[in-house]
């Protein structure tokens, strides 16, 4: 894993043990952008879930594969991109969680949507999926 790249970008490889370092880095970026603690937690969950999906589905659990995370922000909104280079996200294969049946899985994207205002994905690249998470900033 490395955390090089331009400012606001983190590169990790697809081992679940690296998610903690991603969260540490993200916390630092969000602090730099003056995001309040409660919102930081939600965004850590959201980004972590997208990266977990990349590890589990795009890379089928294989380690050593790259995931790029970038954060940009201004006074109006935060934009976080997560990019993997594995199997593309297939919305047809996604099954939303059945809360009546006490779900053990499928709740990752449900959680992401609780914490961001917009969630989109782009599978037009040759490889992988680019996820974009947008959070609008509350004005005091």
């Amino acid at each position: 894993m490395r955390d090089g790249g331009p400012e606001g970008t983190f590169v990790l490889t697809s081992e679940p043990q690296h998610l903690a370092r991603l969260r540490d880095w993200l916390r630092g970026e969000l602090t730099r952008l003056k995001v309040e603690n409660q919102e930081q937690f939600g965004l850590q969950v959201a980004v972590g879930e997208i990266c977990s999906n990349s590890i589990r589905h795009a890379y089928a659990g294989l380690g050593g594969k790259p995931i790029h995370v970038s954060v940009q922000g201004n006074e109006n909104r935060l934009v976080i991109e997560v990019r993997d280079f594995g199997k593309k996200f297939d919305p047809e294969a996604y099954r939303p969680p059945d809360f009546e049946a006490v779900p053990e899985g499928g709740i990752g994207l449900h959680l992401v949507r609780q914490f961001v205002d917009e969630l989109s994905y782009d599978v037009t690249q040759e490889q992988g999926t680019r996820w974009t998470l947008v959070k609008y900033r509350r004005r005091e």
């Binding site: 679940p16 937690f41 879930e49 809360f99 006490v102 779900p103 053990e104 899985g105 959680l111």
Partner: protein
Amino acid sequence: MEIQVAQSQDVTVVVPTGDLDMGAADQVRRVLTELIDKGQLKLVMDLGGVGYIDSSGLGTLVAAMKQARAAGGNLKLCALQDDVRSIFEMTRLIKVMSVHATRQEAVASWG
């Protein structure tokens, strides 16, 4: 993740410390499955030392709860930090899992 297991009368208390994420979920699953397989079915998980949980962590706890219930026991939770509690609320698991404010309360609930 550090996981301690303690006995309080006939209740087994599992105390993880750290983040219950995809990186720790397998470790937690192994500990809980081993306890259930050994017949320790009155389980309490004290989450006071867990400041972060993701869907993998939730899935692990739900699976263990189902396994314990199927064997005649249960996995009860206690001492959830506010952020962690919010995740249980968003996923509605707060309604189907047995959640208590303190470890003492959770242990006592076994009667």
